[in-house]
Symmetry: C2
Amino acid sequence: MADPSVPDAPLAPAPPSDRKASTKLEESIFAATQRLMEEQAFGDLSVAQILKEAEVSRATFYYYFSSKFTVLVGLLDRAMEDVFATVQPFLLRPSHEEPRVALERSLSAVTDAWRRHRVVLQATNHHWHAVPELRALWLQIVERFVVAGAEEIEREREAGLLQTDVPGRELAAALFWGTERVLYVAGLGVEGSFDDESSTIEALVSMWVGTLYGR
Amino acid sequence: MADPSVPDAPLAPAPPSDRKASTKLEESIFAATQRLMEEQAFGDLSVAQILKEAEVSRATFYYYFSSKFTVLVGLLDRAMEDVFATVQPFLLRPSHEEPRVALERSLSAVTDAWRRHRVVLQATNHHWHAVPELRALWLQIVERFVVAGAEEIEREREAGLLQTDVPGRELAAALFWGTERVLYVAGLGVEGSFDDESSTIEALVSMWVGTLYGR
DNA sequence: CCGCGACCATACATGTTGTCTGCACGCCGC
DNA sequence: GCGGCGTGCAGACAACATGTATGGTCGCGG
């Protein structure tokens, strides 16, 4: 059963991720791609490069994956497992905790997870709009977060803590996408925007607290 | 001088956009590209398609543009002229107006402008990360908005209206990127997110009002 | 020891991009 | 009128990436 310290599962369980156990070669393709991505944008990688780095033949590559984007889908799938696990414990606010404090902890956790998987999440950001398989997975991930957020928000509303009457789903979606975007831009290292991580988190906390609880 | 109804220019003037007057052929390339973009993602367009649609030769195309992305830069430049002009009047809150009302008007105006130029802004969103020329222009546009927002925020702070002590620049940036992302996703027509435009605006207004003024 | 699954090297068809060559037309100054 | 130049065209081309196809090698289990 569920961990007793977490009364309700705040995130709906992932639909059974039908990920087969991966073979050695599949694994080295994943690893090689990840390695290459640290130094070069995923979009600029050619399959040839991956082949060389993974020491795998072209035929083998296309035996396991139907394009380099399928590799990215796999990497995202793995990354999100960790992200969900990291964020999970923070999604329910313990009733003794101040909303601001709870949100600060959650957002710090998310920021951490984002940093850990920056390259994969960045690549996802860049390509989900154009790659159906990736888009589906990403939107499904977003949906999990938004639903969890919306539920928590409605719970707070019922407790009479909210200042707004905008539906939880809309708020959760706006806050999710906003946060995602800020973390993305921060991760780019664009000069002059979100240079300092802790003040970035502060701004996000302000945004969440203000939007939901007012002030 | 400036329009007397607007005491201070809320948006710094655009750096002299050294746009030459465009020739007839340049024009038809712009028009053709815009037309094609309405039906097909910019990323999927080939130069060949543009040539056909614009009835222009390959050589001519590369005479005026160095790649299809240069066309997009031109389109963005034009689009932003209109966007700035639309948004300009709303950036300073008349002191007699409620913050919420002022923000609602601004955000409606922005949403309108976004819709008008949806395809171009979408394409920009998709490609600025990878195309230096486009990235530079987009970041410069963002900077204008963020600076204007930050200034307005600091003005409100001095008037004692703000509830937060996070720097205006951080708040403006977070709110800008968040809003941009929400409008982007809304424009995609993703099932289940931001289906209804007016409630989307409501959520955005809540976000701005809450973040800045609390409640 | 045979067969089959996993894997490799290589070649290939296709599509895209950006450059280059050579040619035509019209206008402007001389 | 003539020569030159700016503008534009058609088409060829090299470089590269993608995804497929062909045929061969190796090792292991029946």
